[in-house]
Amino acid sequence: MQFNQLVKRSAFEWEIPPTGNMRVPAIIYASEELIKQMDDKVAEQAMNVASLPGIVGASYAMPDAHWGYGFPIGGVAAFDPDEDGVISVGGVGFDISCGVRTICTGLQRQHIDAVKRVLSENLCISIPAGVGSTGSLHLTKHDMDAMLLGGARWALERGYGRPEDLSRIEEHGCMQGAKPQAVSIRAKKRQLHEMGTLGSGNHYLEVQEIKKIFNKTIAAAFGLVEGDILVSIHCGSRGLGHQIGTDFLREMVVSAAQHNIRLPDRELACAPIKSRLGKDYLGAIRAGINCALANRQILTHLTRNVFKQLLPEASMDLLYDVSHNTCKLEQHFIDGRQREVYVHRKGATRAFGPGHADIPEALRSVGQPVLIGGSMGTASYILAGASDNEHRSFSSACHGAGRAMSRHAASKRWRGRDVVSELEERGIIIRSPTYRGVAEEAPGAYKDISIVVDVAEQVGLAKKVARLEPLICIKG
């Protein structure tokens, strides 16, 4: 990205003042090094978002921002419904409620080393992953609507998980206000056989070791100890969410003129929050969020079963489940007053600071866990929402490393077999049905996640708590 359009506000904060149709400034949180790596499209997209009706505060880009669709990936923006604010498909993305859930096993490295290979094989067999995979659960029409209303609670009622899981999931496992009737027949059909599946691409299930604790107080509250083993699951709302995105993107593009909305980019397709279309999309997103929560709940159950067979002493307590592709109604202090706004986070993680009422009581004093996924050969991080991040980003932080090169370029540079062998030599077992997929997800295809989380901490979005490194990775 060129520096000439940016005004440096601090070492890690860059502003693009309003010009043209921009209603608010665009603010990018990044180091000089990250700015150099960012595509110019990030600035262009953040500026486009700043021009949408009803936007408040600023259009933000997180340290891992990269070129997305409509919004940059790593984009955050809030809209006031009382000021003709909009809700945008481009602000949520195709994979509604894609997110990360982390489970504390209560085990240490030596427990895993004793069974590592067979554990990887059993996880590979038990976790449906990759293109064309189906789950063992097949939904009826009635089940589908119940799942879309109930989320992880629905899964729990069917025996997937433990009651105490719910308090460790955003929205207590069930997003209120879902409208299954706003979800198309096509979207529901895509999901009939995909419950409890991981997906493909950058989605994964990893067995990880805590290699470093940065903040002992917060780590203690989270129950994290150096050397402990965790399991993290990264996936979303599967085919249902993808189809909701497709359906509403088309409808909002076609109807934008009727709502007197001039779209700077068709991918920013949006509708007034108070319009019929806006309300339907919100209801569909909330159904998609429940689908993702149910999906991760089922995958948790399958994972626990595998551990129970091999390592019955594993506790497998849920640390937290948080999404990074959502639009949610939240209260924030903006322009001197408390306002209810719809916060879009596209490839950005909600990161409520200490004391927020929506954080589980046991964790409330230290802040919400922010789960940051890495690539399969590098680190992942657990952060905690910083106490004064509301005015910086509507309490949001980064979500991952972000790609440094395209899938096409990665598959030209690496061979999947070589990537698997090299990682095996480093003690990381990769299980995937596709070598080409592994090549496209090679660790070198991603940016250095450590720089991203360092900036997130230095700018005051979230605090670093723990660094995790993979031992086993199940890829789709």
Binding site: H66, W67, R190, S200
Partner: protein, 153 residues
């Protein structure tokens, strides 16, 4: 199925039509080129399949007929690719041969493919949807039609 008298566009020679991927940092840019609009759409579909597997590895043994429409030709491209994404998802199939007719922003297609064979196809990634990013359908100075967009993978 093909009751309307559409002009049937088909690529005339192998080198007149082609597909390629173009750079997009997060996902896959798909581009089809052909001397006909329908041919460019066929090639764009091959490019999208090429993001998943080698299209030549897909055995075209089962035929399906599809149709869609849109307010303009660019939206028709995303509609067409999204229809394929949907059919691949619900049928658990991959497609490798396409025959299209396009008239007045209406598209009818015969497509051929087979069930996904993970060992043989080695599918790299599932496509979530076709986007409006870098969306363009236009005739080029050399007379060929270009049909392109980024697909979310």
């Amino acid at each position: 199925m093909f009751k309307m008298s559409f002009e049937h566009h088909k690529a005339s020679t192998p080198d007149a039509s082609s597909w390629e991927h173009f750079e997009h940092q997060a996902d896959i840019g798909v581009r089809g080129l052909s001397y006909t609009l329908a041919g460019a759409f066929e090639q764009a579909a091959l490019a999208m399949i090429g993001g998943i597997t080698d299209p030549k590895a897909v055995v075209c043994r089962r035929q399906i007929e599809l149709s869609c429409e849109a307010p303009d030709v660019e939206l028709l491209l995303t509609e067409w690719l999204n229809l394929l994404v949907y059919e691949m998802a619900v049928r658990k199939m991959l497609f490798g041969c396409f025959e299209l007719m396009i008239k007045d922003n209406h598209l009818k297609a015969k497509i051929w493919g087979e069930p996904i064979n993970r060992r043989r196809h080695q599918p790299a990634v599932e496509i979530k949807g076709a986007t409006f990013t870098e969306l363009k359908v236009a005739q080029q100075p050399d007379g060929r039609w270009l049909a392109q967009c980024v697909v979310d993978a």
